[in-house]
């Protein structure tokens, strides 16, 4: 399903241009450089984008591996049967007009699709979905012609198509690399539990993120996610939590239940990583992808800025970690490296100003890491301040900011100490007159990501994401004991 060599797209129109799901998906897969062969289908025939449009699926001259179905809802069952007869093992049904309408016709059609899967053995994603994005094969969503082709450890599954494209786009700049992303829509056949099991077994997937609204079978979901989360981190963003007490209940227990309480309890019970927004889900996925699979109880924080100390300590503690104060001797050693006055190496380590040279920061990271209690280091870099340096020198900010050198220095410190460094790159300069700063910051992010160093926008985001990793592996280790 993810690496089809032959792909039928049913519902491509010769004069449709880039309008319509079928045409859109065809163009998007082309733009992504999908290497397999595409066979468009439409009863009217013709050509599109240099390809012959077959009038019937039966006319396609090869065996099919996979099909994209983008025809009117009532024509979907016949299209599925035809694709199956041509050998397709699976199909994604992009079309809507099924159970989501709540109409008798829609529900009946969806039931018919389910019946076809049982009867013929074809596996279906959808209907009413965006389908599959697989960077390695180049299969993509219609609105995703320019998603990344770089593969990685993160799988994402989502009922919502909008959430799946948003997450894929977010991942592209944030540094997430995907094994597969699946939007399964109504989930007439394949849905959360079975897809979770698949990703649990998928050797290309190391981190699983999912967005769910409702589930079909609570018991199956519970057992599946519990088993999968015992092996790989499963990050869950649950949408649509409702308050308790909607039904008439007598007992206090029942009045205090309801999905807003029960869902989080169940997710804790199965050791899933719970997040409350798409950004938190992306940040947690990034931390799980790039950090070693272990706990990080003691951390050091290195940076500058007014409320740094308080913010870092509070955020660390809230996420189950601590900032051990450095002993006097080490503190003095580090302070000797930093500009005086203004610096302080108690942990958090205040570096006094944002222009401390990368090679000095590298030394500070090396020395701080010599404390056995420190298991991970967070460095806050206020690179946007280089704009004023640039202005003074009459040069663009991108030219005067030493982000490449800094990325090298940090990478070197990670290599030498074996202790991960997480970078925080805040940017309060985002207005129209600071696009140069925004661009420089994104280039800096890329430089760090290329060296395997995760980058977050705020210290709170970073520590929350690290905290998820810390907690997950803490509990996983407890289980093994």
């Amino acid at each position: 399903m993810f690496y089809p060599k032959t792909l039928a797209i049913v519902g491509v129109s010769a004069d449709g241009g880039s309008v319509g799901f079928g045409n859109g998906i065809l163009l998007a897969c082309r733009a992504m450089g999908y290497e397999g062969r595409i066979y468009p289908v439409n009863p009217k025939g013709g050509t599109f984008a240099g390809l012959t449009i077959y009038k019937r699926v039966e006319d396609i001259p090869v065996e099919l591996d996979f099909a994209v179905i983008a025809v009117a809802a009532k024509a979907v069952p016949a299209a599925l049967r035809a694709c199956r007869a041509k050998g397709a093992a699976g199909a994604e049904v992009i079309s809507s007009g099924f159970g989501e309408l709540g109409t008798a016709d829609g529900i009946a059609l969806e039931r018919e699709i389910r019946g076809i899967t049982v009867e013929t053995g074809i596996r279906v994603i959808g209907p009413n979905c965006f389908g599959i994005y697989c960077p390695k094969s180049g299969l993509t969503f219609m609105p995703g012609p320019d998603l990344s082709r770089e593969s990685g450890p993160v799988a994402f599954l989502s009922q919502s198509g909008g959430m799946s494209i948003d997450f894929a786009n977010t991942g592209k700049w944030m540094g997430l690399r995907f094994s597969k992303v699946i939007s399964f829509g109504n989930g007439a056949d394949l849905r959360e539990a079975e897809l979770l099991r698949y990703f649990g077994d998928d050797p290309e997937t190391r981190v699983i993120a999912m967005y769910i609204e409702g589930i079909e079978d609570g018991d199956d979901f519970f057992r599946t996610i519990r088993d999968v989360a015992a092996e790989k981190p499963v990050i869950v963003y649950k949408g649509g939590l409702s308050a308790a007490g909607q039904r008439a209940v007598v007992s206090h227990t029942a009045s205090m239940g309801g999905s807003r309480v029960i869902w989080p309890a169940v997710l804790r019970q199965v050791r899933a990583v719970q997040v409350e927004s798409m950004m938190e889900m992306a940040e947690a996925s990034l931390a799980f992808s790039l950090l070693p699979e272990k706990t990080f109880r003691g951390i050091s924080v290195l940076g500058g800025g007014g409320a740094l100390g308080v913010a870092a300590c509070d955020a660390a503690e809230a996420n189950g970690m601590v900032l051990p104060p450095l002993p006097t001797e080490r503190k003095a050693l580090i302070e000797g490296l930093l500009p005086r006055p203004g610096s302080s190496a108690a942990n958090p380590i205040d570096v006094a100003n944002p222009f401390v040279p990368p090679k000095v920061l590298r030394e500070v990271l090396l020395r701080a890491a010599e404390d056995d209690r420190i298991e991970l280091q967070v460095m806050i870099s206020l690179l946007y301040h280089y704009k004023s340096i640039g202005q003074a020198m009459g040069k663009p900010v991108g030219e005067v900011t030493p982000y490449e050198e800094l990325a090298d220095a940090v990478y070197d410190a990670v290599e030498q100490t074996g202790k991960p460094v997480v970078l925080v790159l805040p940017n309060p300069r985002r207005g129209l007159d600071d696009f140069d700063v925004v661009e420089m910051q994104e280039r800096a992010r890329k430089a760090f990501l290329e060296r395997g160093i995760p980058v977050f926008d705020e210290i709170g985001d970073a520590l929350r994401a690290i905290g998820h990793v810390h907690k997950y592996y803490g509990e996983k280790n407890d289980r093994k004991r």
Partner: protein, 231 residues
């Protein structure tokens, strides 16, 4: 605690069903709990005034006496509870008052040992639309509704789930040795939670359970009041 007898619990439930009811009386609910090995107050159900003195002597003073009828889910609000009854005269008077308060409705008076303890907990069971039977633990008595300091886990529970439920409430310190009180026996508490979950898993017709309060007498938890609702 060894009891785990679904059959005797089912006999009680079938009787209740046979009478066209879906709420168990406190007495019936306690028998269901007892058949699952959950520690409850020692108690006797007394229908006639002539039986009060003997029952009181058997249970031993001081006593609690409660109006017991499936129609009464929340007894305190109805003024149908008398506590700290210390002699025969008080017991007989309490019986008369309670019966009068029950408006001549069906039911009897529960003569119950008085459990002393300042720490009140709650346990319960609800059926979630998506996950089925879920067990609750939290601070009991009047604090249940005010603080809502509670935790849930889906049944069946493993011991670690039960222990986590206890650790998860904000007021978990109440289970430790505080102010001269012994630490709660967490093994027994965990076992009780597991068994409440088992009732939910094994008996489909049980829709909701409230054990409130569960009082810690020394280190030992005892279910003092119980409500079971059937589907």
């Amino acid at each position: 605690m060894t009891g785990n007898d679904k059959d005797s619990a089912m006999r009680i439930i079938d009787t209740v069903r046979g009478e066209g009811r879906n709420t168990l009386s406190e007495y019936e609910a306690k028998r269901v709990l007892e058949s699952y090995g959950i520690p409850v107050t020692r108690e006797m159900l007394v229908g006639e005034k002539s039986g009060v003195v003997e029952a009181a002597a058997k249970i031993g003073y001081p006593l609690v006496m409660k109006g017991c009828s499936p129609e009464i889910a929340h007894k305190t609000e109805r003024g149908l509870i008398r506590v700290d009854i210390r002699n025969e005269a008080e017991a007989v008077r309490a019986f008369e008052e309670i019966v009068k308060g029950m408006d001549g409705g069906k039911g009897a008076v529960l003569v119950q040992e008085m459990i002393r303890g300042r720490r009140e907990l709650v346990m319960g069971l609800t059926r979630d639309d998506q996950f089925g039977p879920c067990v609750m633990f939290g601070l009991g008595g009047i604090f249940t509704e005010i603080l809502r300091d509670i935790s849930f886990r889906r049944a069946p529970l493993e011991k670690k789930d039960a222990l986590e439920m206890m650790a998860e409430i904000k007021g978990h310190g109440i289970l430790d040795a505080v102010r001269g009180m012994e630490a709660a026996d967490k093994d027994i508490l965990a076992d009780m939670l597991i068994r409440v979950g088992r009732i939910g898993v094994e008996i489909d017709s049980v829709q909701e359970i409230d054990l409130n309060p569960v009082i810690l007498t020394g280190s030992r938890p005892v279910v003092v009041d119980a409500l079971i609702i059937l589907k």
